[in-house]
């Protein structure tokens, strides 16, 4: 969590390897590997997944083709056999139930003409299919009405397992009523200034960020 401009989305994008960012210092060790040395697709193969704040529309390419290509490349990298169309169809139909998505979305172009809520559901669907070890959800709650929020959060909860983790990036406590966090970290000006349990989110909701910023004497009023 953190106020606007604190660097939450930047961190999310850097972890996934967005080409607009160049990391000049430090390393990111994930499962013993330095993520920063890997191309974005290799990071995905290693088990990193970013649910985008603004998912991209790709006209002409069906959702199923796109997801099957991703899944099979990840499987290949793990030495697993690729899924054929029948196997994939079975899998995706199952996963679509997790996010209560209409099956007609399988054959529509990726995100094209989807509503804001549908795009976010599609992100969680991809997460369900690709089964990452680490999912980073960047403002997944933005632009969602309460029903869509419940569905998206429900999807994230259903995918939780002892072998995976999620980083949920959000401004608001609202989402955390539905996705109950194990830890809350507060990012201000690119640094984690406070960490705690789920109750920290409630404090933030009540008092706003200014209080913690003062408490920690940050440089926000330079």
């Amino acid at each position: 969590m953190g106020p606007n401009g604190s660097g939450k989305s930047t961190l999310a994008q850097v972890l996934a390897g967005h080409p607009a960012y160049e990391v000049t210092q430090g390393e990111v060790i994930f499962d013993g590997q330095n993520l920063l040395a890997l191309d974005p697709e290799k990071r995905a193969h290693a088990g990193v997944f970013l649910a985008f704040q603004y998912p991209v529309e790709i006209p002409g390419v069906s959702n199923s083709y796109f997801l099957k290509a991703g899944l099979n490349e990840i499987r290949k990298s793990k030495g697993l056999e690729e899924l054929d169309s029948m196997q994939f169809l079975k899998l995706i139909k199952e996963k679509m139930k997790v996010v209560e998505m209409d099956p007609s979305f399988i054959n529509r172009p990726v995100n094209e003409g989807f509503s804001g809520g549908e795009k976010k559901k599609n992100e969680i669907l991809q997460m369900a299919v690709l089964e990452p070890k680490l999912a980073i959800l960047d403002e997944t709650d933005s632009g969602l009405d309460i029903d869509a929020l419940k569905i998206v959060a429900g999807g994230v909860n259903k995918l939780k397992s002892p072998t995976n983790a999620s980083i949920v990036v959000t401004h608001y406590q609202r989402l955390l009523n539905y996705i109950v966090p194990d830890f809350v970290h507060v990012l201000v000006k690119g640094q984690i200034i406070k960490s705690g349990g789920k109750e920290l989110a409630l404090e933030l909701e009540a008092d706003g960020y200014d209080l913690i910023k003062e408490e920690f004497g940050t440089m926000s009023h330079a």
Binding site: D39, E41, I58, G60, Y65, A69, L130
Partner: protein, 453 residues
């Protein structure tokens, strides 16, 4: 004019053309031919000194010494080959020409509504002489256009279509123009097409230009289309001639009040191709969508010159041309929008976007706006670049490789414009051709089929 070209070759060609077999047409056409031949020999082939030809050098055509393909050269073509040029599965309405001459054998027109006329121009002059005389050569002006003059000098055959008032033709009508080889001659086919769509009529047409072998033929077509009040017309042109062929077409649509026109140009073939596409919005509330996709590889040059002429108020026109360029190829897009003083409330948008897939491909893109009305909305934009890095990142973040990312984004780039084709059958037909062509030319078999939402 270029002094290097031996125009006496074409004068000789013209004399034997007029003597042999081209004499079936009425005498007024002979007069036009003669006048056009004079224009052609006087003007000569265009050079890059002409503003309209600044980016495209037609020297290779000028040096060609093309032979008029007489109807004796209508060679036998296997039905299977013909079939492979059409979308699968249906009994399409089709009229087929080989080297500029009607092939009755391969045409299928019996399922058209009986009021609808689709036939070759030579036959049509016998049944619809009056209407042909009223419209032929009234729209594409050969007096200031060398290729149109050459076409008009050798004007003989092509498609004639007449869709009467209130008639709607259900499926698309396919016009297939094939060029074939004859010994070592470089053949020229000067197709001449005329389409009249009467008031409140509705029709979809596809013009398909294909070659049977890889040869240096010249197709030099002129197509004139008249769309009357409230009529609805869609045309999809597919130019997929052989890698060595030359292709030139002057296509002009004359739109009347409240008519709706959708034109799409798919340009894949030829070593050198030039499409001049002009739309004259000659009636208020006429609506035009002019779109296109060109894919150039190796040493190809594909040039589109479009002209959108707003004469009356309240006409929307939308234009999107996209290009995918590979190898050492080159593309030209020149889009002119001309808004007359009377044409208030014009709503015109023109966009040209180019995707460069190699470091050696080049594109010249030039929007030209001339606006003489003060209450209009006119926008234009042009872009040249590689694949969008944000899009690429999205795909890669799902584990998709660089190669497949390129493949999907290239297909997506094309799909955005093919999605503008209104008729579903024609859109699918184009989508299939585009993906097949990209798979062949880019050597990437992993390209996905195009889907639309």
């Amino acid at each position: 004019m270029s002094n290097l070209v031996n125009y006496s070759h074409y004068i000789g060609e013209f004399q034997s053309f007029e003597k042999n077999g081209a004499s079936q047409l009425p005498s007024w056409i002979h007069e036009i031919r003669k006048s056009a031949l004079n224009v052609f020999t006087e003007r000569g082939f265009p050079t890059t000194k002409e503003e309209n030809w600044k980016y495209t050098n037609v020297n290779s055509i000028a040096k060609g010494m093309f032979t008029y393909a007489s109807n004796k050269l209508v060679t036998k073509i296997d039905a299977e080959i013909i079939e492979s040029f059409f979308p699968e599965g249906k009994d399409h309405h089709r009229i087929v020409f080989v080297n500029g001459h009607l092939s009755k054998e391969h045409s299928k027109l019996q399922n058209l509504p009986k009021e609808v006329v689709v036939r070759n121009l030579i036959e049509a002059t016998k049944t619809h002489g009056g209407i042909i005389q009223q419209h032929l050569s009234r729209y594409v002006d050969y007096r200031n256009n060398s290729f149109a003059a050459m076409n008009t000098a050798f004007l003989n055959d092509g498609v004639f279509m007449y869709i009467p008032k209130n008639i709607e033709v259900k499926g698309p009508i396919y016009c297939l123009f094939i060029s074939t080889q004859f010994e070592n001659d470089q053949l020229a086919a000067h197709l001449r097409n005329l389409i009249i769509v009467e008031e409140d009529a509705k029709v979809k047409v596809s013009f398909v230009y294909r070659s049977v072998y890889d040869h240096k033929n010249l197709t030099n077509a002129v197509t004139e289309i008249v769309v009357k009040e409230r009529a609805n017309f869609e045309a999809v042109k597919i130019q997929q001639e052989s890698d060595s062929a030359f292709h030139v077409e002057n296509l002009r649509v004359h739109q009347h009040e409240s008519s709706i026109v959708n034109v799409f140009s798919l340009a894949l073939g030829s070593i050198l191709a030039r499409n001049d596409m002009s739309i004259i919005l000659d009636g208020k509330e006429a609506d035009c969508n002019l779109n296109g996709l060109y894919i150039t590889t190796d040493n190809q040059v594909i040039d589109h010159h479009t002209f959108m002429h707003h004469i009356h108020p309240n006409c929307p026109s939308h234009e999107l041309f996209k290009g995918i360029l590979h190898g050492n190829s080159r593309a030209v897009f020149n889009g002119k929008v001309y808004v007359e003083p009377e044409a208030q409330k014009t709503d015109s948008k023109q966009t040209n976007r180019n995707l460069l897939l190699s470091d050696t491909a080049t594109v010249d893109t030039k929007p030209e706006l001339e606006i003489f009305a003060d209450d209009v909305k006119c926008t234009h934009g042009a872009a040249v670049g590689g694949l969008n890095p944000t899009y690429a990142f999205y795909l890669k973040s799902r584990g998709i490789s660089e190669e497949n990312t390129r493949a999907m984004l290239t297909v997506g780039f094309a799909a955005e414009v093919t999605g503008k084709i209104v008729d579903q059958e024609l859109r699918h037909y184009v989508d299939v051709l585009v993906v097949e062509h990209l798979r062949n030319k880019l050597g990437n078999t992993g390209l996905p089929d195009i889907v639309h939402g």
